[in-house]
């Protein structure tokens, strides 16, 4: 430390090593969480379709197909969203029908 002033300029700070993802830019989100939540909470095949497209995001990205991965990302998001919306709509319709029919209290409870 005593000869600090006489040393050559310090080396530049270490660079973070490049991963393949950084070379290509940020990968598109695969929305797997939303796909799984849509499958779990909305019980519709749309959730499964969303998981299929989530999988395609990862597989296409791994192959370097950036455009394909982005396309699959959008589809994964849309299928999860429409699965959720359709699930809510169907459940609201079911509740309205049962309330209107007055049979809500007599349902056997094997729901979700």
């Amino acid at each position: 430390m005593s000869d600090y002033g006489s040393t050559p300029p310090p080396p530049p700070p270490p660079l973070t090593p490049y991963s393949s993802a950084e070379v290509q830019g940020a990968p598109p989100p695969n929305y797997l969480v939303w796909a799984i939540l849509s499958t779990l909470l909305c019980c519709l095949p749309l959730g499964i379709a969303s998981i299929v497209f989530s999988t395609q995001v990862n597989s296409k990205w791994a192959l370097g197909d950036v455009a394909g991965a982005q396309d699959a990302s959008v589809k994964a998001k849309n299928f999860a969203m429409w699965g959720a919306i359709l699930g809510v709509v169907i459940n609201v319709v079911v509740v309205v029908i049962f309330v209107a029919g007055g049979v809500l209290s007599t349902r056997t409870g094997s729901g979700y």
């Binding site: 499958t39 909470l41 499964i48 094997s110």
Partner: protein, 145 residues
């Protein structure tokens, strides 16, 4: 020779405002869990029956999730696993993903890594197998009943 991540260069997703989205999602999720913990899904009439179950008579991969969340809300992991083991595992994954999202938001980073594709193919295959097997007689440990 310096690395600038795309989100850092926009300056939009850095700082304290960036963590508001994950925190907001967590608040909504906790309200939902609190509701399901207090309004018992084991009581008939509290919630509508799964539409897939109502139409086909078969359990879907999500059947039992409300009762599993209710049990988790009361700290009863074994009952939660009995109602829907996939839901319990999936909720663990959701929590881990949320923590990583919060970290990325706080540090102003964008997503940098995707899991290898075989992991997702495995998840998809596991969910489809779970869907079938929980409807097979004798596999009651997978069924919500």
């Amino acid at each position: 020779m310096h690395v600038v991540s795309p989100s850092a260069s926009t300056g939009r997703s850095t700082g304290r405002r960036a963590v508001l989205r994950p925190l907001g999602v967590a608040a909504v999720a906790l309200i939902g869990v609190g509701y399901v913990a207090n309004v018992d899904p084991n009581t008939p009439g509290h919630y509508p029956t799964c539409p897939f179950l109502a139409v086909t008579g078969w359990y879907c991969p999500g059947c039992g999730t409300l009762r599993a969340v209710h049990a988790l809300g009361h700290g009863d992991l074994m009952t939660a696993l009995a109602r829907n083991p996939f839901a319990v595992v999936a909720l663990g994954y959701v929590v881990v993903t949320w923590v990583l999202w919060l970290q990325r938001s706080a540090r102003g980073r964008s997503l940098r890594w995707l899991a290898p594709p075989w992991v997702l193919y495995g998840v998809l295959a596991a969910i489809l197998m779970f869907w079938v097997l929980r409807n097979v007689p004798g596999w009651t440990w997978l069924s919500p009943a």
